[in-house]
Symmetry: none
């Protein structure tokens, strides 16, 4: 099996200012591509260490991926260390320089000498052109082993891994063992319940299938993988497990594949059914709207929203009767319903939803503790509210309420009869 090292460069990683998410992402991608990721080395912006670690890895393994230390400031010395290691002069790359100049022109900034220096690359490399930023990636070969230098900025690194490194690897190693990975994304079920529903998977694991539960802010993802000499062989190992997961997860399975997002799936359903939506937010404070509008093309179905933080705005902008707020409070079923109705009416959308709760850390009471959230739904003619008791953490509460709302819309429009976290709908 082909072996790989990942070298992450940057003091910020060692003193704990930044968590090394790049290494995890690269590790997952290389594993899927059929590499055995043998080690990750996290090292400081130190010329000698950078040079010696890259030199060692180039000797030992087929592929070394290096991230970080390619920026324009004095502590970015990866390029220098590698140029010296290859005893290679630097040359100015015209295409890169041209690209850097365009970026600065477009933004109306002045080009500085340190930016121009970013267009210098060692003669020994071929350039991995980076349209997303000013630091180019670089690709080296030594005695049949390969080395990629990539910027540490996550979206730039990912772009170059996908568009430049991956195609080179499949050209270089056509006969490599093929890995197949799939992701089953769920929402509205806690990890422990999910794992009980799925049941014992030992018979698959003994057959070489990998299974992992990955809990995240948007729900729990189940990752399954297998390898074989050809893609079909690997896929065959997963066939039965996939069928079982589809059956066992059914109601809470919102999407498949690494890139699936709940708001993307909801957007697709809205598009397919020709429906529009608007959002009235109190405790989520814009987070739910922002999730919906993260999806490219969302302007076709997302008409907009109101962040109604003050009671006056709940009445003035959403038409909630002040008497309702007075009688039941801002965090109540009645206010949530009135907000959802109000936003649906004002935006003339097919769907109106709302959130109102105590996000925390302050503002709770015995009767209405921090983490209490009411969500209102007007989905075409159907109206109902959900009540949830979430956590003490402000940001988590914003995220989780938004997930419950999105997952409820998804289930409702897909004809799934039960609600996230087995919440019970309350009808007006």
């Amino acid at each position: 099996m082909r072996r790989a090292h990942i070298i992450s460069i940057g003091n910020e990683l060692l003193i704990g200012d930044t968590v090394n998410t790049n290494a995890a992402w690269i590790g997952a991608m290389l594993t899927e591509t059929g590499f055995y990721v043998e080690q990750v080395f996290t090292i400081p912006d130190d010329y000698q260490l950078i040079k010696s670690q890259i030199s060692d890895s180039l000797e030992q393994v087929d592929l070394t991926i290096v991230t970080g230390g390619l920026g324009p400031t004095h502590d970015d010395i990866t390029k220098k260390a590698v140029a010296d290691l290859f005893e290679s002069e630097l040359r100015e790359d015209k295409e890169v320089l041209n690209h850097i100049e365009q970026i600065f022109e477009r933004r109306g900034f002045l080009l500085s000498p340190s930016n121009i220096e970013q267009a210098q690359v060692p003669n020994a490399c071929s350039v991995l052109f980076n349209p997303k930023g000013t630091a180019p990636g670089m690709w080296f070969e030594k005695k049949g082993n390969y080395l990629a230098l990539l910027p540490g900025v996550p979206h730039e690194m990912k772009y170059l891994m996908r568009e430049e490194v991956a195609p080179r690897l499949s050209d270089l190693y056509p006969g490599i063992e093929v890995w197949v990975t799939d992701y089953f994304k769920t929402a509205g079920v806690p990890e422990s319940t999910l794992s009980e529903r799925v049941g014992n998977l030992d018979r698959f694991i003994q057959n070489g299938v990998g299974v992992a539960y990955l809990p995240g802010a948007g729900g729990v993802t189940i990752r399954i993988s297998a390898s074989g000499p050809k893609k079909q062989d690997a896929e065959k190992k997963l066939t039965v497990l996939k069928k079982e997961l589809n059956m066992e997860l059914s109601d809470c399975l919102f999407g498949k594949g690494k890139e699936a997002t709940l708001s993307g799936v909801v957007g697709k359903i809205l598009t397919d059914q020709g429906l529009t939506i608007s959002v009235a937010e109190s405790c989520t404070g814009g987070y739910l709207s922002s999730k919906l509008t993260d999806v490219p093309g969302s302007s076709h179905y997302m008409l907009g929203g109101v962040v109604a933080y003050s009671n006056e705005s709940k009445s003035g902008l959403l038409g909630v009767d002040p008497a309702i707020i007075e009688k039941y409070g801002a965090v109540s079923r009645a206010t949530a319903m009135a907000m959802a109705r109000g936003v649906k009416e004002r935006f003339e959308s097919d769907i109106g939803v709302s959130t109102t709760g105590i996000a925390g850390p302050g503002g709770g009471s015995e009767e209405k503790p921090v983490g209490l959230v009411w969500m209102g739904f007007c989905i075409k003619e159907k109206e109902f509210a959900l009540k949830a008791q979430l956590s003490k953490e402000r940001l988590l509460n914003k995220q989780r309420s938004s997930i419950v709302v999105l997952e409820t819309i998804r289930r409702e429009l897909s004809g799934i009869p039960n609600y996230p976290y087995e919440l019970k709908p309350q009808f007006p």
Copy 2:
């Protein structure tokens, strides 16, 4: 200075199913305790690699912290590798066995042979008793260098670092160097310009001061650090640099300290000046409101907002004259100003701001390309608009426009005369 290595063991870290947050946490703690964390090694559950890496680190540095591979399953082999390295027999620790038995009794589970094995520890170690789980920590010494084996479960690892490892370190190294770190957080200036403004810092670096530029979604942070036998000595090394940074950064420096956020700082200014704000968002789609409402207590000054994605909502909810949209387009100075005025009026706030732009990836034209954003500001009696050309990335554009708006508000209310990214204000 005392040097440390961190060794993280586990296949899940290398294939990217788990992000190595433990290493970041330990790195931060050791740095604060006065250690120079020289490297993090992430290695698989592989007997030979575990043994050789721990052996190398024990030779090279004063302190090696190892996490992972202490569980009850077949792939947990850290203990065996270290026992062999120390040529040490295993013994059964009575206290640990007793504790494991109690845990299983409490949970009503049957004790298996692999659980009983967890009470076996090498003779060469002293036990770091772990009340939080079944795997004990272990502490070794070799030729004046120290080694801790800790479980990989984050809350167990953290407990043992705090309660067992830290006290041993302060006993062993009473005169250890104290580290002082500070963070200068900036917005509205690109990293390269920032580094030129700050200028050459070699004279500080030669004096043992560490300086790093950390670019992030919210702007660029400059981290400075120094060590000394006492806190005052370390702080003294930073005094001149701090003064220089304060002077050179002045206008773009929004906060100091690791936890400072731009929306938190804006919130504090609004609170201090007794001002309220409301937000009209098109291209940022709720992101700006969500940032403002991330701050605990923001309901005191953030009255709310309107996400006006559709032209109808720009007119209906914000009172933008449809003739303006017709004549200048939704992405224009006139519409941005009308949105800011409209939201300020409707929420009766002191400040109204707006964003309208082409977030992308689609929807651009030659005249109005993807990444073009207009921002409108009505700050008390002052009205102006800013125009920026951002990137091709939808989510980045949402983030960056929001930062420009927040940083503009901060500068305006702080009496700073220039604008983020040297944008020029356009007055109606």
